[in-house]
């Protein structure tokens, strides 16, 4: 096991971690590593690092390790960790912020998840709303999982749950404008 040289890492990532703290509004240094978050996390079993470890990375300046973890992509955003944290560290928000930053840096921990979110937002931008059938199709195509969920597809249509045509709204491009405005402000959409 190689050892981690902490001093140089700290200097290297201090500014970035500081920025992260500002963006998420969460101060990782408050965490005293009790692990309550990880114990309560419904997805922890599938993660490469428990959420506690992600916070530890931030405390030590191991930013890359945090950004390249699968954990941040697996977080379901259920906020169980955040409501239980004895130090009131909003871990779920840290995960969100890390994922946004990872995406900016091009570290895509889980391509499928990323594809899904991209397709989802594209649909929103184009139609104003989500076109679920299309979304299922797009995702499966990109994810090369052609048959996934198709078992559910037919009954869905039969039950009138999925419309085969996209529905969009007549908002005079207001939603598109929102996306544009966010981009103008440096949003990574």
């Amino acid at each position: 096991m190689s050892s981690v040289e902490l001093t140089s890492l700290k200097a290297k990532h201090d500014a970035e971690i500081q920025k992260l703290t500002e963006q998420s509004g969460v101060d990782a240094s408050k965490c005293y590593q009790c692990g309550k978050c990880s114990a309560g996390c419904p997805v922890a079993f599938a993660m490469d690092y428990p959420p506690r470890a992600i916070i530890r990375f931030l405390q030590l300046g191991l930013l890359d390790q945090a950004l390249r973890s699968k954990t941040i992509w697996l977080c379901a955003g259920c906020h169980t960790c955040s409501v239980r944290c004895p130090k009131e560290v909003d871990i779920a928000t840290v995960m969100e912020t890390l994922r946004i930053l990872a995406k900016k840096k091009g570290y895509i921990g889980d391509k499928n998840i990323d594809l899904f979110h991209n397709a989802f937002l594209k649909s929103v931008e184009r139609n104003g709303r989500v076109y679920e059938a299309g979304l299922v199709l797009t995702r499966n195509l990109f994810g090369r999982q052609f048959f996934r969920d198709t078992g559910h597809g037919l009954p869905m249509v039969q039950k009138g749950k999925i419309s085969m045509l996209p529905h969009s709204i007549k908002d005079n491009g207001e939603v598109k404008k929102i996306f544009e405005n966010v981009r103008k402000r440096g949003g990574n959409v």
Partner: protein, 295 residues
């Protein structure tokens, strides 16, 4: 009472029975729902993982339209509710954010219109004696495991109910004669974000625990207030059963469906026939009990 109504994308497709039952019971309970004209997707559950501002701006447009009409917004979907609430809170907490969001959505939103969960609104509207007269059938025999999911009562600072042991749905169902079981999975995550994405194996084991816990607690059905949870618990139940070679046979209801049933609304109008795990036998059982147990 009049509310702006924000059904959200799911309710016009996979969660259509939630929409149907909501509109039906609102009529009976005298709640006027004014669907936000040309509402847009709130961005859940992708926007907040992509861009913070976008995640706040998308719901803001819907809230802004409601604010113009001077109404609070009733939101059935827990995810939509959580995102909209986050926007409302952000706007009220920071003048700067208020300004930014208004500039992004190019509309005025002062944070006056509040995002409210449908469960809370329905819970309030049935307070008082008048509701007794409206009950057609008591839901006797239902042993419901109320499943609130993770987003409805979190984060704790803005939640309308307890994040660890919420009670509002239980109380609502008690009022209509159903039993609810005490179980500890009320606010566990169902893994929906993984289901709708690409990690089935993760979701399946999360779901399994929920089904077992409900069964152990003696429940004969699950009740939810979220179309994503519904989708997961209902549509994937068979999948989980197959995976673990077992049978749970737990019908899953929207709480609005059960309220509708008790108020005497035709099951098909509530969409009760649209479930994957056949709910009709249990519904029929309840309806057959009638007689002396009619309210």
């Amino acid at each position: 009472m009049k509310y702006a109504y924000y059904p959200g994308c799911s309710l016009s497709s996979t969660g259509i029975e939630y929409d149907m039952s909501t509109r039906e019971i609102a009529k009976v309970l005298g709640i006027e729902l004014w669907e936000i004209p040309e509402w847009n997707c709130c961005g859940a559950s992708s926007a907040h993982l992509t861009d913070h501002l976008l995640a706040l701006a998308l719901p803001a447009r819907n809230l802004a339209i409601a604010e113009e009409a001077g109404l609070d917004v009733a939101i059935p979907c827990a995810a939509c509710y959580a995102r909209s609430k986050a926007t409302e809170v952000a706007v009220n907490e920071s003048e700067e954010m208020k300004k930014t969001i208004q500039e992004v959505i190019e509309r005025k939103y002062e944070g006056k219109s509040k995002a409210r969960a449908l469960l809370e609104i329905i819970g309030e509207s049935v307070q008082g004696d008048h509701i007794k007269e409206r009950i057609h059938i008591l839901l006797t025999g239902l042993k419901a495991a109320c499943y609130y999911g993770c987003l409805l009562v979190r984060p704790a600072s803005t939640a309308f109910d307890d994040p660890e042991d919420p009670q509002s749905m239980d109380q609502l169902l008690h009022l209509f004669g159903a039993e609810t079981v005490d179980w500890s999975y009320k606010t566990e995550c169902c893994g929906a974000s993984h289901e709708t994405s690409a990690k089935p194996e993760i979701g399946i084991s999360i779901l399994q625990k929920i089904f077992i816990a409900a069964q152990n607690a003696g429940a004969n059905c699950l009740v939810t207030a979220c179309p994503l949870c519904m989708n997961n618990l209902d549509m994937r139940q068979i999948e989980v059963e197959k995976y673990f070679s077992t049978k749970y046979n737990l019908p899953v209801f929207y709480f609005t469906e059960l309220v509708g049933l008790a108020l005497g609304i035709e099951p098909s109008k509530l969409g009760l026939n649209k479930h994957f795990v056949d709910a009709m036998p249990l519904v029929q059982e309840v309806l057959n009990r009638k007689g002396g147990e009619q309210a």
